[in-house]
Symmetry: C2
Subunit: 231 residues, 2 copies
Amino acid sequence: MTEIITIQQAVMEEDEKYARGVRRSMSEKKILMVNVIGSPGCGKTTLLEQTASKPGEGNSPGFTFAVIEGDLETSRDAERLAAAKIEAIQINTKGGCHLQAHVIEQGLFSLESRLGLDSLDVLFIENVGNLVCPAEFDLGEDFKVAVSSVPEGADKPLKYPMLFHQAKAVLLTKVDLLPHVEFDKELFLKDVKSLNPQSPVIELDLTSGAGIEDWISFLYARLEEKRAHAG
Amino acid sequence: MTEIITIQQAVMEEDEKYARGVRRSMSEKKILMVNVIGSPGCGKTTLLEQTASKPGEGNSPGFTFAVIEGDLETSRDAERLAAAKIEAIQINTKGGCHLQAHVIEQGLFSLESRLGLDSLDVLFIENVGNLVCPAEFDLGEDFKVAVSSVPEGADKPLKYPMLFHQAKAVLLTKVDLLPHVEFDKELFLKDVKSLNPQSPVIELDLTSGAGIEDWISFLYARLEEKRAHAG
């Protein structure tokens, strides 16, 4: 057992080197990198489509972005994003349950050669649909975001605490289904707060787009912080 | 890299030994063991509650069952099952994204000492909420069942093909939400068929319990097959 743990450690340390490289490169270019994590079908791709459809207003004048799309198989999500005129790189993990930093580095090379990274403000990573494994891996992102949809039920934060504990924001999607399913919102908010007192919970109806402005304002504020920090 | 693969292989081979042991023991006792796999919040626990609430009828005179419950953290699901008077053993994987056969063996010991296995017809394993990793591990079960809920979207079979390819049945849950969400049922059925021509798709409304008889008949037929095979 010790030997296995040692080797796993070595693999993870190798990957952390890639993560540091990605982080350094994103920092130099002042690109905000956001690792989007949630269950299969919680609305990650729709969130990105909606993010593109709303130009910024007032205090958040919008931003340009691209997406690195992770999936086990198929390029359906990247095709959906392309149809919404979003620049996207599809990565198929071929059965792998999460993305890793060395794959992100390859994705960045592809994006650089295709459209140049200098034009970007934000880079989203849409991770493999999975609440467990993606939470354990640093991809070099500025922060992780947890996406949880109403029909999944209100018990998810305590059942998948690692993700909710780390997330810089929790997006509660499909709130339009609240009248049709059992969902104890008070419990959900209380459990998120207990795991992660600082993290805002942003409620989203991705069908109508209601709430998307709050998400964009949140991102824009983080982008401004990163720019200010980079000087 | 070769060394890592070799050691991973050894760990998996070790686990396959446990899986064979579990399978042999379930075969001697003529217990049907069903590994239930699906996304977080797809309705796995509710399915088991509903399975207990419907006594068998006509050609499927019902069966006794117990549950081995896998979760990263919390014992909420086992508490829900206990409230529904279902015998359940909770296993916390402490961050692990799937159950493994050696853990199932421990669960069987606990069940044996608590209620004796001889009284059981069926043993359900409710796996960790995850469409990816649980599909890769043999727990000694008779078969896997894939649970996919309508709000997750119709694109899940092709995006998570390993599970849908292996499943002996696909349960499409939350069909009561069909009027409220976009879901291309024709596409879903077509994709399941392409991955797994033999597997029936059983549609379930877990709020009203509609469809649960089909599920119980399906299980009862498999139990009869197992008993006939065991002679």
